[in-house]
Structure formats: C-alpha cells, structure tokens
C-alpha cells in the first residue's frame, strides 16, 4: 500500500508522462503523413497542371513545401513565372 502510494507520487513527478504525451501527438501526425506518403508530390503535380493551363511554366520552378507549426501547418507554394507571360496568355486565348 505505502509502496504503491510511493510509486504513484514518483510517477507524478517523473518526466515519463510528458514523454508519452509528446510521442503520442507526434506519431499521430507522422502516421497521417505516411498514409498519404506523397501528399506534397500530388499537390505539386495538380498545381502544376492547373497553372500550366494558363501560363507556360518550367516544371522545375514549382516548389511546394509544408511547414508544421504547433497549432497550424502552412503550405507554401512558390511558382516562378517567366517575364512576359501575359503575351503568351493572349496568344493562348
């Protein structure tokens, strides 16, 4: 009885519960990414396809990046478009 109580008190003060919680949150997130392993690749392809319908693009210049923050994650899409694309737009339409 006293031994159990001691263990309980120790557990409260130890750092193990913090470790468990951090791991649970992290792994929930990482497993989500794994089940959609190439989410970024898919996004990149589709964004490229949509933009290319209107602008002539160098596929190498389309960069999609995901940054994970504490509360929210951000998706950063960086597309380099050659100068004078408006002209090409007119030709296309």
């Amino acid at each position: 009885m006293s031994m159990n109580l001691l263990n309980l008190l120790r557990r409260r003060t130890g750092s193990a519960p913090v470790a468990r919680e951090r791991l649970q949150i992290l792994l929930a997130h990482e497993r989500g990414l794994r089940s959609q392993p190439d989410l970024l690749g898919i996004l990149r392809e589709e964004i490229l396809a949509v933009v290319s319908r209107h602008v002539v693009l160098d596929p190498e210049k389309v960069i999609v990046r995901m940054d994970r923050g504490d509360a929210v994650s951000t998706l950063e899409v960086d597309i380099e478009i050659p100068n004078g694309f408006e002209k090409r737009l007119k030709v296309a339409s």
Partner: protein, 272 residues
Amino acid sequence: MAKVLVVTSGKGGVGKTTSTAALGAALAQRGEKVVVVDFDVGLRNLDLIMGAERRVVFDLINVAQGVAKLSQALIRDKRLESLWLLPASQTRDKDALTDEGVRDIIADLRTKFDWIICDSPAGIERGATLAMRYADEAVVVTNPEVSSVRDADRIIGMLDSKTVKAEQGEQIKKHVLITRYDTSRAARGEMLNIDDILEILAVPLLGIIPESQDVLKASNVGSPVTLNNAGSQPARAYIDAARRLSGETVDMVVPTEQRRGFMDRLLGRRAA
C-alpha cells in the same frame, strides 16, 4: 519450415547486434539450426560479438556476387554446432548488395536452416530495407526513450509496406523488444513506461532486456550473453524471448533492481 527474422530499429545503437547474437544463440541452444546474417555492410560487428572475427574469409557480398559459394562464407560457431554466422562485407560500396542477390541468398539459406536472423543496419535507407525485404517476422528493438520509439514506429510502417510479405498483401509478424531498460530510472518515473510504449507502437512485446554490465562483458570476450553468462538477468530475458519466438507462452518478467548483497555493499561493488 524456415523462418526469416529481421532484427531492426531505425535508430542506431539500441541493441540490434547484441540481440541478434543473443537470440540466435538461445534458439540454437534449443536445438534449432540457426544462421545469423550481418547486413551492416561497411560496419560489420556481428562477427566480433560472436567471437568469430578472425575466421572471416568470405562475406555476404562475395556470395551475392558469385565470388564465393555460400558454404565457403558460412562460419560455424565454436561453442554451438547448430549456430552459424554469415558475415557482412567491409566494403565502402553500399550498392554492392542488390535486391536479387539478397533474394537468392535468403532462398538458399531457407533450405538449410530453421531460423535466418538478419541483423539490420541502423537507418531507413537501402541497407535497412534490404535486411527486412524477405523477412517473415520482425523484432523491432527499441529503448524506453522518445527518439528510439519514434524511429521504431517509422520502421513498423516500413515493415508493413516495403517487405515482400506486405506487398503480397500478407501481414509480417512483428514483435517489440525493449532493451537497455534501466530499472532504477524506471522506478523514478524517468523512463517511458512499458505499457505506454506498447500502446503507442501497438505491437506485442517479445521481452524486456535490462541495462546490464553482463552485456558489455559478453561483448568484450566475443560471446553472446546467453552463452557467456546464461544465468544473468539479460541472458534470462533473451532466453525467454527466444522461447516466445518459438511459440511458447512464457510469463513476462519486468526487470527489477537487483539487491546488493552485504559483502558487495561492504566492498562498495556496484550491482550488475
């Protein structure tokens, strides 16, 4: 029927090689015919832990490339006649090992042994994927510590997607082996709980190996701990784990702090 078992972890230095040697020897002591295969190309160590480093002539890559026959590369243990070692190569060329090469060697070993235990290199790159590629079962080695558990989770994901078994829609059988379990830190609540680790990883427990000087002593003399000091705490835990691998039900022993005897205290000796 032969079983191919990969000992893997993701994180380095958690005890894969130690566990491969200890489990291999424990299974061989039970009369099973066992080969331990070192997949850590360029950083071989299993030969040293098994005490066979001076008997290596040919290695895994020599066999894969057809330079040597399998029978020329296999080294028989000096203590246990049903225990064999297939050493890794020390080459720097990590691409020397191919998928086809591994496939053929494993197929050949299956005809000769009951257990083929593959000691994986750390990481999630080619070497680790090749080591697990043809496995039927996996021992995921982890320490009770966050980064090791995180990597174990990653490796479990790979076992479920990148092995031939998984690609054929079958389940690869997985076990978690918790090693370097420090009993005094566990008592102070400083180490991840066993139950928490199992809940997080959702893979059944194969055993709990305590942090122990006996492991170091065994590696110093080049003998698996299960052979070097079969009565020690880590050896008993490995022997129980080997019995579970063979399908026996064995009660799980959670290592506890070993009481120091009066003489030990008097002489100031540390508990093992």
